[in-house]
Symmetry: C2
């Protein structure tokens, strides 16, 4: 088996999939983004990714492939019942990739990949206990304990997006009700705006937007223009997130929590109120001790770098 | 320093304090229980414990002392802002004991001690990922990850009793509102009965009991006699517990959860509905995979054995 200077890190999200050729130092040589097309089968996405890789590859030898995907199980190499993808009960993503490539392949939860990325190349470097939250179409999380990613008994530790905010609350794609990600995510914020529009008569630019076309970016822009509905949506989102992050601290007691993903890039308009509510909800022994920061990696890079870090670790295992 | 065949394991609870002389195999040679007298200072309790130990000790050489106490911090040897004890901001319990004994002393959260006890001598033997919940005056928890007790960044991991059920909910002794232990604990169940009595006109033996004199044992006995208010209180308690245990699984993904402490000894009347709701609230990838059991150790012994296990570990460290 030829050993190259690069691995491929792939981040499969509900809407877009990103990939990058990444070296040992976490430098991304080249990258690409494609639509995930969530309604299509997994093997179709793997073929489309393979075509993209062929175009980018040139003469580079590739050593391994690491993939972050929703509901991925590192221990089994599978993606199981992903709530935002139409892939069914279980797809062995490692096997699908190995039909195209004769190199080590590993898969993990997309948020776990983001956490490994933050730990190796980001703001969590050198930390022992960290929680990384990805705020995209859904809400993902990766938990670092004693300097290592926590997989738990079955490979599925760290699914904070499906903890319960309100047992009588919003329908979740997972089949439950009131899951955190139905409130705190890009899609969750649109639902919050819609709920506020139903309750409140204040003028708002959000009333001009169809529900199906609303984006968190539009809510952000409206909030920057002092739109009261958009500002209230950020405040409600921050309160729910702050409360559930305080719960998370009461489990694993991290030294820091890192927010990454599209919605986290809203920056202070989300981060400042989240910090306020987070401190308010923290149990006394934790107050003032847990840093809450926005990822410093370029948007979307954390997961690709994390998937690449996972691939390098797999390469090292194979060469033992 | 003389090395003996016993350590002393001490479990300090909000109401009672238990101690036992425990050998290497987890056999309890002799034991005692005293009232904690939560309104008194910590050094008074330590003196009273010391008197009790003198009486029990006989000719036994003691190798070490392990203590489980609310809000105890293993890393610092302190008990900090315990919600059910009038001890103030910080008491160094290790130093207080070392004024009486010239042996290694270690302190940890009473629920962490219970978790170590279950791991070494109880139902969790040989497991790698477990959560132990203690249901007493309050609700404590100890989290085992990769076969070891999780302390987290600051020594305070595993405080599930102070995760939030309802941000507008019941006042908690910790200063927050709607904490899990204000619903799921002996005291929480009495509050639930009181709430049900206010909402509901059905006849119930619970109407004859003063709020301040009500115990979870009385609620248990009424439920065994088909008292509808008492049965409803168990159902509500089980639902809240099931929901928050499902949240806990979404953090650390354990293979089992063990319920211990006074309220857990209610057995199937609590365990059966808790299992039902727990499965209902579990995120799909975990469904059917997490055992939920009652501690098999004699009531109250888990924490004493855990404190003893902690002491033996400390003795081993000192002799290295």
């Amino acid at each position: 088996m030829q050993t190259g200077n690069y691995v491929i890190g792939i981040d499969i999200g509900g809407t877009t999939t990103s990939l990058g050729f990444v070296d040992r130092n976490g430098i991304v040589r080249c990258e690409a983004t494609l639509e995930t097309l969530a309604e299509q089968r997994a093997d179709t996405l793997v073929s489309r990714l393979s075509d993209t890789i062929v175009k980018l590859r040139g003469n580079s030898a590739i050593s391994g492939i690491g993939i972050g995907a929703p509901n991925a199980n590192y221990l089994r190499g599978t993606v199981e019942n992903p709530p935002n993808l139409n892939w069914g009960a279980s797809v062995n993503l490692v096997e699908l990739f190995q039909q195209h490539y004769c190199v080590p392949v590993a898969v993990t939860n997309d948020a776990n990949a983001a956490a490994i990325g933050e730990l190796q190349f980001g703001i969590a470097r050198g930390m022992k206990h960290v929680i990384v939250i990805t705020l995209g179409t859904g809400l993902g999380s990766g938990i670092i304990v004693n300097g290592e990613l926590l997989y738990g008994a079955d490979g599925f530790a760290g699914e904070l997006g499906h903890t319960t905010v309100d047992p009588e609350g919003r329908d979740c794609a997972c089949g439950k009700r009131g899951c955190l990600e139905t409130y705190v995510s890009a899609a969750g914020m649109c639902r919050t705006v819609c709920e506020l529009l139903s309750q409140n008569c204040e003028p708002s630019s959000m009333r001009e937007i169809r529900f199906n076309e609303m984006t968190s970016k539009q809510i952000y822009e409206a909030a920057c223009n002092e739109d009261s509905i958009a500002l209230a949506a950020f405040d409600i989102t921050a309160r729910t997130l702050g409360m559930k992050l305080a719960d998370a601290v009461a489990h694993t007691s991290p030294e820091a929590i890192v927010l990454s993903g599209g919605l986290a890039s809203a920056g202070d308009i989300l981060l400042t109120p989240t910090r306020h509510y987070f401190e308010e909800f923290l149990f006394t022994p934790y107050k003032g001790k847990v840093k809450l920061s926005q990822s410093a990696l370029p948007e979307g890079k954390g997961a690709v770098l994390g998937a690449a870090a996972l691939a390098w670790a797999e390469v090292d295992k194979m060469s033992l």
